[in-house]
Amino acid sequence: MQIGRVIGSVVATRKHPSHEGLKLLLVQPLNLDGTDRGDAVVAVDALDAGVGDRVLLTNEGFCAGSSVGRWPATPIDAAVLGVIEEIELLPDVRGQR
């Protein structure tokens, strides 16, 4: 998994049937120092994570599909698996990416 931040959401009425009724969030993967790490992704969400929340993000299909009860064989490859309250780092790592 990666650490990410929810930066928005996606509205799409014309989409694959397996995506019906699922929340689609825009999640920006983060480095440990909070800077952006690569591009934002579209992730399904079953936890009602809100914009601004830091989250646990998976980019693997089995985890993603099963996390929203849409498994097997659904075209979903990213999901929010957790809402992060706190991150603790060793002192010599703080501030590093």
Binding site: R5, I7, G8, S9, V10, V11, A12, T13, R14, K15, H16, H19, L24, L26, Q28, D39, A40, V41, V42, A43, V51, G52, G61, A64, G65, A73, T74, P75, I76, D77, A78
Partner: protein
């Protein structure tokens, strides 16, 4: 899944027979701010997306799941057409 914009189309009569009948669209990945990012790719299409439309696509094995029950050989499939994006980057 990933945001992208349909910027073209590919026709190929001679191709893997599992691709027969599939639309092959050229997709430019974009950021939530609709800026181009990353390499352009060719995706199969499960939604009937048109030229210029903002879409999202799925990659790897899951891309073929989008076209079941057809067994399509693809590693990228458009699975949604975006109506609206809400973006608020400041935490």
């Amino acid at each position: 899944m990933f945001l992208g914009r349909v910027i073209g189309r590919v026709w190929a009569t001679v191709k893997n027979q599992n691709l027969t009948g599939q639309r092959l669209l050229i997709v430019q990945p974009v950021t939530p701010e609709l800026k181009d990012t990353g390499k352009r790719i060719v995706c199969t299409d499960a939604t009937g997306a048109g030229a210029g439309e903002l879409i999202y696509w799925v990659r790897a094995r899951e891309a073929s799941y989008a076209l079941l029950p057809d067994e399509v050989v693809t590693d990228g499939t458009i699975v949604g057409i975006v109506d609206h994006l809400d973006v608020k980057r400041t935490p």
